[in-house]
Each structure stands twice: as structure tokens, then as C-alpha cells.
């Protein structure tokens, strides 16, 4: 299975999805012009990855400084895919990394944590 590497821009995060190691990283700001188009390659690969039996353990690290509402919706759909895989018996850990001075990023993480109670969703202070 391929890896996915997308460089960071002023308005989109860097995406680094190492399917061999089972490590997924998303770092930066997220307000693309067309959110669903931008994240489509990532969402497709995530789906393909969880459909297969590639890795025992998957770690997801997300450090999103700020994001627009369509990104928020997309992250929700992303965690929904992760939850499905979790329900299928996969071991997945999510680290939501935030700056301790950024209350909004913490709050966003807490909301996702509450929405996906079944997942191992850690709030990690930077």
C-alpha cells in the first residue's frame, strides 16, 4: 500500500500517512478552498488502509492550529471511519495535540473526544 505525503501550505496542513508503520500525522492549519476535494486522497487511503489488515496498531497524531467549519465536518467524518475500524477490532490511538494557550484547539479536541467515546482519544499538551 502506498504512503501519502502532502506538504503544508498556508491554509492546508501537512499530511504524512505512513501505512507501513501505521502512523498518521496531520499538522498545521486547515481552511482549504474546497475541503472535500483536498482531503479526498487522504480519506480514500484511510478507507483502503482500514479495509486491509496492514498493521496491528495505528497511531494518529493531529495538531491542527485552527480550521474552518467544513474541515471540522471533515475531521468528524474521518473519526467516524476510525471508529468503524475500531469496532471491527483494530487497535487505534488518537493524539490530539494542542498548545496550552490555545483554548479553542483544546475545546475542539474535547468535543471530538465526547463524540467518539469508544475511541482512545488523548488530549496531548504540546
Amino acid at each position: 500500500m502506498n504512503n501519502l505525503i502532502i506538504e503544508e501550505t498556508k491554509y492546508t496542513p501537512s499530511i504524512n500517512f505512513d501505512t507501513q508503520k501505521g502512523v498518521f500525522e496531520l499538522i498545521g492549519k486547515s481552511y482549504p478552498e474546497n475541503t472535500f476535494d483536498f482531503y479526498k486522497p487522504m480519506m480514500d487511503l484511510v478507507e483502503e488502509y482500514f479495509d486491509g489488515e496492514e498493521q496491528e496498531i495505528t497511531t494518529i497524531n493531529m495538531e491542527i492550529i485552527y480550521f474552518n467549519s467544513s474541515s471540522s465536518k471533515l475531521f468528524f467524518d474521518f473519526f467516524d471511519l476510525v471508529e468503524e475500524a475500531h469496532n471491527d477490532g483494530k487497535t487505534i490511538e488518537i493524539n490530539w495535540i494542542y498548545d496550552e494557550e490555545n483554548d479553542s484547539a483544546l475545546e475542539a479536541g474535547e468535543d471530538f473526544q465526547e463524540d467518539f467515546e469508544n475511541l482512545k482519544f488523548n488530549l496531548v499538551k504540546k
Binding site: 498556508k10 481552511y31 472535500f36 471540522s72 465536518k73 468528524f76 494557550e101 483554548d103 479553542s104
Partner: protein, 182 residues
């Protein structure tokens, strides 16, 4: 054109920057956000307050951008000209983000009930509604006021809006959000 007068007015109003143009582009929005980041860093605005300013600014400008993209091809004669600005109110120690653009009567009928619904909500109610809507997958596409206004409401201390009627079933839609600089 008297640029001194314009500058005095901008200074007196605490306007940090303003865009008054035909069509907003993603590049323009991101460059303005960049400038805004530098401005808030220079003034030692906390990360909490500044990310709320950026998010609301991005949300309002992308709304306007998408709106003009979607209506540019319609048969209606459409004027995409709009204003978006960010300012600082020294008296209240608060930042404000203001947008104004022209919308059709049809879009007014979509936006107005959403805003009237959100306006009286408490912070907690806004949060619950936001999560409910995000979960439900309604208004899934980014164009159109889905959870966008809830995102804004969540991140400001107060907001206000008005629709001024123009001719030909058009309205001038103004929106302002205030953020206290804690």
C-alpha cells in the same frame, strides 16, 4: 480622492485591514490571514483570542467567496462586490470582524432563520447544536450556511446582523462578530 481623510477614518475606526473588492480569492484570504497573524503577534494578543479572530475571519470571507462563485454563473445579474474587515475597538478592548455583501431574497430566506435561531442561544446550546448538526451530516457541503454560523457564534462574544432591502429582490447582508481581548 482624499487619501488623508480615508486614512484618518481607518485610524479612528481602529481598522486593521479591509478588503473591498469584486471577488475574494482563496489566495487573498490566506494572505490577509497571514497579515492578521503578524498583527496579533505584534500586539501580544493571546493565542486563544487570535485563533478565534482568524477562524471567524476565514469563515466569513470564505462564505463570501463561495457565494460569489456560486452566483457568478446564475442568470441573475449579480454584484459580487463585498466588504470584509477586521478592526480593534480600543474603548472596549475588543476586536471586530465585519462582512457585508449582496444576497438574493432566496438566500436571505435561508440565512435569516438560521441566524435568528442561533442568536438567543447560550454558549452551551450553541455547542450542542453545533455537534448535533456536524453529526447529522446535514448541509454537508461547505457552500451555504451549514455549521459555519455556529462556528462563528461559538468563537465570538457577541454577533449581530441585518438585511437591508435593495432593489430587485436583493438584500445587503451585514454581519458583525465581536471578540473580547481577554
Amino acid at each position: 480622492m482624499n487619501i488623508d481623510q480615508l486614512e484618518d477614518f481607518l485610524d479612528d475606526s481602529g481598522i486593521i485591514f479591509l478588503s473591498y473588492c469584486g471577488i475574494l480569492t482563496q489566495n487573498l484570504i490566506s494572505n490577509m490571514t497571514d497579515a492578521l497573524e503578524k498583527e496579533t503577534a505584534m500586539n501580544n494578543v493571546s493565542l486563544s483570542v487570535s485563533t478565534n479572530i482568524f477562524t471567524i475571519f476565514v469563515e466569513l470571507s470564505q462564505n463570501m467567496m463561495n457565494y460569489s462563485k456560486n452566483t457568478a454563473n446564475s442568470e441573475d445579474s449579480f454584484n459580487p462586490k463585498g466588504i470584509v474587515l477586521v478592526g480593534y475597538n480600543e474603548q472596549n478592548n475588543s476586536y471586530y470582524i465585519l462582512s457585508r455583501n449582496i444576497v438574493s431574497i432566496k438566500d436571505k430566506s435561508k440565512i435569516l432563520p438560521k441566524l435568528e435561531n442561533i442568536k438567543p442561544m447560550s454558549r452551551d446550546e450553541i455547542k450542542q447544536e453545533y455537534r448535533k448538526l456536524r453529526r447529522s451530516g446535514r448541509d454537508k457541503h461547505e457552500c451555504g450556511a451549514g455549521i459555519g454560523f455556529l462556528e462563528i457564534a461559538k468563537r465570538c462574544n457577541a454577533f449581530d446582523f441585518k438585511f437591508n432591502p435593495l432593489e430587485d429582490d436583493k438584500y445587503q447582508f451585514s454581519f458583525q462578530a465581536n471578540i473580547n481581548n481577554k
